[in-house]
């Protein structure tokens, strides 16, 4: 084991040996210099997420009922969550009409085959997306009925 325990001053690959709760010993894999450089360059190209006041994204700007380019069901988690957060920001800003129309458009673009059971395990994620959009649409409707638009 001593061969793979890094000596702290050595510029090694970061491979370390740890003891799990069960008592078993586990080797945490290292990272080669090439792998690191690829990650580093990827990070430095864009830098970290910088959030400043007014940095509300334009992701939703072009989404309309006619547009079929943004498919929430096909998006990765991070961009999908970003769209959800932008919708929530619209709701917070009391932009209920816009929020409702965007949520409706995003729901319509998903193209879910009729009869799809959204409760089964494989469709659970899809179910969550549908539920989120539906809930937001309804809440916007209630706010608009109550005259809550800013």
């Amino acid at each position: 084991m001593s061969k793979i325990v890094p000596t702290a001053t050595e510029y090694n690959t970061g491979q370390v040996v740890v003891r799990k709760g069960s008592g078993t010993v586990k080797v945490r894999k290292g990272q080669t210099e090439e792998e690191f450089l690829e990650q580093k360059n990827r990070f430095l190209e864009r830098g970290p997420v910088v959030s400043n006041a007014g940095s509300f994204s334009d992701l939703l700007k072009d989404i309309s009922l006619d547009d079929r380019t943004v498919r929430l069901d096909k998006l990765d988690k991070i961009p999908r969550e970003k769209i959800f957060q932008d919708l929530e920001r619209l709701y917070y800003m009391r932009e209920y009409t816009i929020c409702q129309s965007k949520a409706k458009a995003l729901g319509a673009q998903m193209d879910i085959p009729e009869g799809t059971d959204l409760k089964v395990k494989k469709n659970r994620n899809l179910g969550r997306i549908v539920e989120f959009l539906h809930d937001l649409e309804e809440r916007c409707e209630r706010r608009l009925m109550a005259g809550g638009q800013k």
């Binding site: 702290a8 990650q39 580093k40 430095l44 970290p48 997420v49």
Partner: protein, 312 residues
């Protein structure tokens, strides 16, 4: 806004950060007002730490190596409080960072005290010899429960022997506490963690979270895209002890951000950016006067400033 001199990021694991883009996107976001910013790092080897520093150095003012986190899962991985028994490794990590970055990157370590304080003094000397810029000392051992009071005598002893600035940490829940701890320990600054979580306005002298901070938090967190459960947790802490119990339960039971916002708009007057008086209220502005809860007061003392640090 609320007079914190330094802000810290949550602990970010170096191993994941240098290997996975999704971990970087989820764990590290910043803003131009987050300054001076110390990025708190959890690491168990020199390589991961150095690589992480290489990546984040342009975006932060300093890094803090966490040697105090007592969470078992982290300790088993050799991270956090596990480092309290590995002073040579910690010294190697510090000297590697300082050798590579020098004054371009401030290096702090956050430690806990040992049952035998002499061990802590030895640990601190080792870190100083390796080139650490300042040290934050939490006055509990890694096995002390948070319900047991912080040992400020040990922190005082560390301060008396140290050559670098020492920041005291533990049981700081108000500005008065900060001054008391500074006086008691002779430290160069005081860090608050839970205190600030429950009352972000504490360093400005507020005895409870001012409502204006709640309004600002809503505005910033929805602008930045903080995940719903984190927003809910922060609001729950900020309003702890200020709401009637049933309202606090309702706040915690919301299942979506829109539901939580409906609750706030229904029960309280929650102003938005641009509305008159936004971010200025102190007391909770209930919509129904009959449910108005506890009274509020805020300190308006013009006390001399001491350096204070806060974790967010």
């Amino acid at each position: 806004m609320y007079k914190a001199d330094i802000v810290y990021s949550p602990m970010i694991l170096a191993r994941e950060f240098v290997r996975h883009e999704n971990a970087r996107m989820s764990d590290f976001s910043t803003s131009e007002t987050d300054r001076p910013l110390i990025l708190q790092i959890g690491a168990n080897n020199v390589t991961d730490l150095l690589r992480m520093c290489e990546m984040v150095q342009p975006y932060v003012d300093g890094i803090g190596l966490n040697c105090g986190c007592p969470i078992k899962d982290q300790v088993r991985e050799g991270i956090g409080a596990a480092l309290m028994s590995k002073k040579d490794l910690v010294a190697d990590m510090i000297s590697a960072v300082k050798k590579k970055f020098g004054d371009k990157l401030t290096m702090e370590i956050k430690i806990r005290v040992h049952p035998d304080v002499n061990e802590t003094l030895e640990f601190v000397k080792c870190a100083e010899d390796a080139g650490v810029d300042f040290i934050t000392v939490h006055g509990r051992t890694k096995d002390t429960r948070s319900s047991v009071a912080c040992d400020f005598e040990k922190i005082k002893l560390v301060k008396q022997h140290a050559r670098v600035p020492i920041v005291a940490n533990g049981d700081c829940r108000s500005l008065e506490d900060a001054y008391r701890i500074a006086k008691l320990t002779g430290c160069d600054g005081v860090m608050a963690v839970r205190g600030v979580l429950y009352n972000p306005g504490m360093f400005a002298g507020h005895v409870k979270t001012p409502w204006g901070a709640v309004e600002r938090f809503w505005d910033l967190s929805t602008n930045y895209g903080l995940p719903f459960r984190l927003i809910q947790h922060h609001l729950s802490c900020m309003l702890d002890g200020q709401l009637l119990k049933e309202l606090h339960i309702q706040l915690n039971e919301a299942n979506s951000l829109a539901e939580l916002l409906d609750f706030f708009d229904e029960k309280f007057i929650l102003k938005r950016q641009g509305e008159e008086g936004f971010g200025e209220a102190i007391d909770v502005p209930y919509r129904e006067s009959k449910v108005a809860g506890e009274s509020h007061c805020s300190l308006s003392t013009e006390a001399p400033s001491i350096p204070v640090a806060t974790v967010h």
